[in-house]
């Protein structure tokens, strides 16, 4: 019985990984249940360990090659730098979380946090000053060492300079003497010309040598030793932390929501006191106006949210939301239209020119068209448009800041993602087994039950295959659209980093590349999973 239960678990797991498209892990699970261990180990070695080794090999080659290629944005970042970029992004996000919490803290929690922050800050400041000192000594030491190694080169440069100056002077004098003889016709002019040429050649070679010496000196100077870099990094990290703690205490003490609200309430009370104490009409009106004003400010303040700085996680969330909106729009248009195309050949004939002409159009063009066309709907004041008021009222979505740019991006995604879904749905419906339609005829199914009981179920696998392609296309298009339209999202993140040009930019761009790739991969897997759920013939899906 126990044996049977373990078998059940095993086959359940195997089925799960099969449906989710992770067939590679099949032997691992079989190995866990001790099934033909030798064979499973071989399978794992072939199809799991070898690919992993291959990827590691690629990473190693990348690490080795990247630093050799100098670009105008610095050298190509290595995998280690990318991981560092990811870590920094994560830290930034976590700090935003902390600050947001600080902004929202009230009462005792707030005072307690102020205390701990102050203690922590003092500690970190001490550490920071220690590290700064260390950095200074390291700098001195490095400088001294550098001076030691640079000094001989500088010396030789100076010596060479002197020598070449002297040589030049003697050559000039010789030329002058020769010229004097030429003037008196003792020597021919061609001799003088030859001498001048020789003089120039000598000067050039001297300049060349000097340049070489200088390059060597610059090389020594321009290559800061790793110990100095490490010390700088350590010091900067702690200084950064101190900065963050300072910001936090600021948010706790002045920027805090409850503090602000309390201040406004206090002012309102004062104004009220003035109102009750007022003896003349003008003062009473003024005080009453103040009461109303301060009360309103207090009310607004209580509803205020922390203005988060945009981090890569926020961009990711927004991108996912946008692609989801676009995908839904595409599906809502493509599936009914596709079914109509598949059912009725006249509809197909009508839509064929539309599909063939608009399918190859670039997403960039669609984005521009949508910005103009759909932008007109949101005039004159996009903020007050019912669509955005609606999104603003939704619980999670409101934090994403839905704006016209997001709608344009979603529409662009929809426009580009609609075609594969449409074509595949039409194909699925039109290639339905004739026997199944005959069954429907014999059963005398009406149009709607034929549609829902025969046509749609039978075409679902191809519909989902189309939706899967649509999702992939949509995700690719979205990044470009966001970059172009400056709608917050991963595309904008990449574009901003490219424009930004800080020392981390390049690493951040490649980090974003991986984030986009991995998210795309999981979106695809979700679609495969859905496709497998609806496919009735256990048909294999391409990976």
């Amino acid at each position: 019985m126990a044996e049977k239960r373990s078998d059940k678990i095993k086959y359940g797991l195997l089925k799960a990984i099969d449906v989710s498209g992770f067939k590679v892990f099949d032997p691992v699970i079989r190995l866990c249940f001790r099934e033909e261990t030798g064979k499973q180990c071989k399978e794992i070695g072939k199809f799991l360990i070898t690919p992993v080794l291959f990827v590691i090999g690629c990473l190693l080659i990348w690490s080795a090659v990247a630093p050799r290629h100098k670009t105008k944005s610095g050298e190509v970042p290595t995998p280690a730098r990318i991981v560092e970029a990811a870590r920094i992004s994560h830290t930034l996000d976590r700090r935003e979380d902390e600050k947001e919490a600080d902004f929202q803290r009230t009462g005792n929690a707030r005072t307690a946090t102020i205390g701990t922050i102050a203690a922590l800050q003092a500690e970190k400041e001490q550490l920071s000053s220690a590290l700064k000192e260390e950095l200074a000594t390291t700098e001195e030491r490095v400088q001294a060492k550098l001076d030691g190694s640079v000094a001989p080169v500088t010396g030789s440069i100076e010596k060479f300079n002197e020598r070449s100056k002297a040589a030049k002077a003697t050559r000039e004098a010789a030329l002058l003497a020769l010229a004097g003889q030429v003037v008196t016709r003792e020597r021919s002019t061609s001799e003088l010309l030859l001498a001048v040429r020789n003089h120039n050649a000598a000067s050039e070679s001297e300049a060349e040598t000097l340049k070489k010496l200088k390059t060597r000196r610059n090389e020594i100077l321009g290559d800061p030793p790793t110990e100095l870099l490490d010390a700088q990094l350590a010091s900067n990290a702690v200084a950064n932390e101190v900065q963050h703690l300072k910001k936090r205490s600021e948010w706790l003490q002045q920027g805090n929501r409850s503090v602000k609200v309390a201040a406004w309430n206090k002012k309102a009370q004062d104004a009220e006191a003035q109102l009750t104490a007022a003896t003349e009409a003008g003062a009473a009106v003024k005080a009453a106006k103040n009461v109303v004003k301060f009360e309103k400010k207090a009310g607004d303040g209580a509803e205020q949210e922390y203005p988060r700085t945009v981090t890569v996680y926020f961009q990711l969330k927004r991108s996912l939301f946008t692609v989801f909106c676009g995908f839904l729009m595409a599906a809502f248009v493509a599936i009914p239209l596709g079914i109509m195309c598949g059912v009725n050949r006249v509809v197909m004939a009508c839509l064929t020119p539309v599909i063939s002409i608009f399918k190859p159009v670039s997403p960039v063009v669609w984005l521009l068209i949508f910005q103009i066309v759909i932008g007109a709907f949101f005039l004159p004041d996009p903020e007050k448009h019912p669509l955005f008021l609606f999104f603003g009222a939704l619980p999670v979505v409101s934090s994403l800041g839905v704006n016209p740019a997001l709608i344009f991006c979603a529409c662009t995604v929809a426009m580009c993602a609609v075609w594969p879904a449409l074509v595949n749905t039409a194909l699925g419906v039109s290639s339905i087994d004739k026997d199944h339609l005959n069954v429907a005829r014999v059963l005398r199914l009406g149009f709607w039950s034929r549609l829902f009981k025969i046509i749609i179920p039978s075409s679902l696998p191809l519909v989902f295959a189309g939706l899967r392609i649509s999702m992939g296309v949509g995700w690719m298009v979205l990044i470009a659209a966001e970059a172009l339209s400056s709608s917050d999202g991963l595309g904008k993140f990449v574009w901003d980093e490219y424009q930004n040009g800080s020392s981390h930019s390049f690493a951040n761009i490649i980090y974003a590349c991986f984030v986009i790739g991995i998210v795309g991969f999981f979106l695809d897997r979700i679609m495969i999973f859905l496709q497998r759920l609806v496919s009735f013939d256990d048909g294999a899906t391409a990976v």
Partner: protein
């Protein structure tokens, strides 16, 4: 009064300019509760004939009559069992049959329990109870055919049209299902028209056997009356002289048909004019000539 009738039906395929006659001059009369087998070679238009009866195919001329009235559009009154099962692959056996039941008797649509009882009755009839929740692709060929039979029976048709129901099965499974079909028919008599290409099967099951001549433009030939007592037992059947005689005669008839068709085909073959193709290969130009033409 004949129960089901075909009068002078003619069916062809293709455009008017190049029409291929499949069936020509088909006349068939079936009595109530009769088991008729139509036997023919593959490609002779058997499936077209059954589609004609079911209403899935319209005759070019002639008529199909059910109880004296034009049969018209296909419907549950003529339950057809398709050659390749045609079970809906996304539905389980139960749901496949339930779809038919719901469609035929809307009264049962309301009550889940009566519906289930009704469906289970047919599933039990074809002995598929253990596989009721399986999908068609998880079933063997024989089980699929049983499910298909159950679905057809669930339509409660007046005429049962079986289109080579067992031709895709292996011999043992086929024998098993033949017995099943016979048993069900004897328990619950109704009119059956079965298409087959198996003489043994026809003799075992049918009251009358009608051969279909070779296509194109096939027609129904002289029928054979099977006058053997029922229920028939396949094991003892082999010893009956009547069985042997029928088998022999039908087989001979069919073989002759085949022979005839071959001869016919030889005669009607388009005669080719006695021509020798002209030689169009280019003469090889002498090199000097080519050079001068290039210049």
């Amino acid at each position: 009064m004949p129960f089901l009738e075909i009068q002078n039906a003619k069916v062809g395929f293709g455009p008017v300019s190049n029409r291929t006659e499949v069936l020509n001059d088909i006349n068939l009369t079936v009595r109530k509760n009769e088991f008729v087998a139509v036997i023919g070679f593959s490609g002779s238009g058997k499936t077209t004939l059954i589609n004609l009866l079911a209403g899935l195919q319209k005759p070019d001329s002639g008529e199909v009559l059910l109880k004296g009235k034009p049969a018209g559009e296909p419907g549950p009154d003529r339950g057809i069992m398709f050659q390749n099962y045609s079970l809906l692959p996304w539905l389980s056996v139960f749901d496949n049959i339930a779809l038919a039941v719901r469609q035929v008797s809307p009264a049962k649509r309301k009550d889940r329990k009566t519906l289930e009882e009704h469906v289970m009755r047919y599933i039990e009839m074809v002995k598929l109870t253990p596989a009721r929740d399986r999908k068609p692709h998880e079933l063997s060929g024989g089980m699929r055919q049983r499910a298909s039979l159950a679905r057809t029976l669930a339509l409660d048709p007046e005429v049962l049209l079986l289109d080579e129901p067992l031709s895709a099965l292996d011999a043992l499974t086929r024998g098993d299902l033949q017995d099943e079909i016979l048993r069900i028919w004897e328990e619950d008599k109704r009119t059956v028209i079965m298409i087959t290409n198996d003489v043994d099967e026809a003799v075992l099951t049918a009251d009358r056997i009608i051969p279909l001549t070779m296509g194109p433009a096939a027609t129904l030939a002289q029928e054979f009356e099977v006058d053997m007592p029922r229920p028939r037992d396949r094991t003892s059947l082999n010893d009956q002289p009547e069985y042997k005689r029928l088998k022999r005669e039908i087989t001979r008839f069919m073989m002759n048909l085949n022979q005839e068709a071959r001869e016919l085909r030889r005669d009607t073959g388009i005669s080719m004019p006695d021509l020798k193709p002209r030689d169009f290969s280019l003469p090889v130009a002498p090199p000097r000539l080519r050079r001068s033409s290039a210049a």
